[in-house]
Assembly symmetry: C2
Homo-oligomer: 296 residues x 2
């Protein structure tokens, strides 16, 4: 298929490469020229703008940092929608507010262009391996058209509902992950301060109702003082902010999410925005001057 | 072994029965006579007090609702310590503040009686099946002595540290469980209010970093509107209160735990204290007048 790919950052580059490997023809754009060159070497055709990439494509995928960049890449004067023919498809795989996804979807519909939001989870390693989890919002017809492309980039793809539903699902995911990490932090700090070995506590509770993917992935990182990303606190804060603004627009108060979002604001302000989100636990540590480490 | 068992409630009765099945001789006490009779029918010898039960036993186990009842059952004038010979062992399997466990442990040590705190998780079904998870605090020697008894009542037993460590571990567990349920509630309410099917969202996220034992056990209960306990909100609130008071005594602030404890206070005040703790999610539902149900 002729595919446009806009946004060749840490996530976009390996995703574009996996589409090339699957035999698709890619026209790519990113304002950063070395990123374009890296994907062109793998066989992609460079374009001068998102508009030009979309003009040559049946499906144009965007993968950029947040809502403003999505609006620029799709709705801007040099954006994909300006170049997309009626009947073609634009799929935004960035993680953004579902409200922005719906706004972009309406603008596309007004020009006869189909739109789907399809954010991913799994981070750079799973983008490289082509094993991302993809959460999509849009029509069943577009989802069917995208199935092969999603299979090239991910190991699972779920159609969660209409346009915006992909990002709502992603935000639900990010709320749970952030709050679960913060809860783990409080529990491990309490146990460590009481003189217990946090590793023993982790092993004692991981098989029961307190067990979680977060506990198994992040407790060992905290105990080993390894906060190498992985997924950065700065980006998780963006997701929680998007969750809170979307929730507010629907009249949904989220007190725990709000508290954890403010904890992340504090960590970013304290210079920890580029640490892995397991370092959310350091907020509880700092408050009681207690590092979660093994004794001795 | 000659065992005293004090506290024959919903948990204590099946635990005592499993010790009888394993071939131990039990002397039992509970102020509620029918509860004593139920265990006496299975072969236990009734005693007139915890003191009398301990006087006949090598190991005396207590299983009562909270700290004040533990102090009464062990340190009171008719308590186990008054009857226990030097060199015998008292093991409290209730879930209480680690501070109370340490106080009781010191009083026992002053009389030459060994003490262990060994709270459990798993609830009534696992008490009946003898598959509780046991978190112990005390000396390695007492833990070795107790190993066979713990095997009769549970499927796992971990020595987490000295006296008090069992309850610290249990509280770490309860913090994570309560906060994870509350986070799940916010995520599912947001998704449902946005028009998504909460079952689809649950299935889309359960295999990733948001996955947890809480999500798999409790999301289906919330979606099915089934809040039959299980573990009651009232008891989970008691555990969070014990966590906060122990943490405060150690100079450890726990903001998320504090917020969720107050949510549980609100639910108990609203008449929901006897619902399963999955109903923690109803707090987020009420705030936005949105029930987490499948559409249609």
């Amino acid at each position: 298929m002729d595919i446009g790919f806009v946004g060749l950052g840490i996530m976009g580059r390996p995703m574009a490469r996996n589409l090339l490997k699957a035999g698709h023809r890619l026209t790519v754009y990113d304002p950063d020229r070395p990123s374009v060159d890296a994907v062109a070497e793998a066989g992609a055709v460079p374009a001068a703008s998102a508009r030009e990439a979309a003009a040559r494509s049946r499906v144009t995928i965007t993968m950029v940092p947040d809502g403003p960049e999505v609006e620029d890449a799709i709705l801007g004067p040099e954006g994909a929608l300006a170049g997309a023919a009626a009947g073609t498809v634009i799929v935004d795989m960035s993680s953004i507010s579902p409200l922005v996804a719906q706004k972009v979807g309406q603008a596309c519909a007004a020009k006869g262009v189909e739109f789907m939001d399809a954010p991913v989870s799994g981070g750079e390693p799973k983008a490289v391996d082509g094993t991302l989890s993809i959460m999509a919002g849009g029509s069943p017809e577009v989802f069917d058209l995208m199935r092969g492309l999603f299979e090239a980039m991910g190991s699972s793809a779920v159609l969660a509902g209409p346009v915006g539903a992909g990002n709502v699902t992603k935000l639900a995911n990010q709320i749970i992950v952030a709050v679960n990490i913060a809860a783990m932090g409080e529990a491990l700090v309490l146990a460590t301060r009481a003189g217990l070995d946090p590793e023993t506590v982790y092993q004692a509770i991981r098989g029961g109702l307190a067990g979680s993917a977060v506990l198994d992935a992040k407790a060992p990182m905290v105990i080993a003082r390894n906060f190498k990303p992985g997924f950065r606190i700065r980006l998780h804060r963006k997701d929680l902010r998007n969750a809170l603004s979307a929730a507010e627009a629907m009249g949904v108060p989220l007190p725990l999410t709000g508290l954890v979002e403010q904890i992340l604001v504090s960590l970013v302000a304290g210079g920890r925005g580029d640490l892995d989100h397991s370092a959310i636990a350091t907020f509880a540590e700092d408050m009681s001057k207690t590092e979660v480490r093994r004794p001795g």
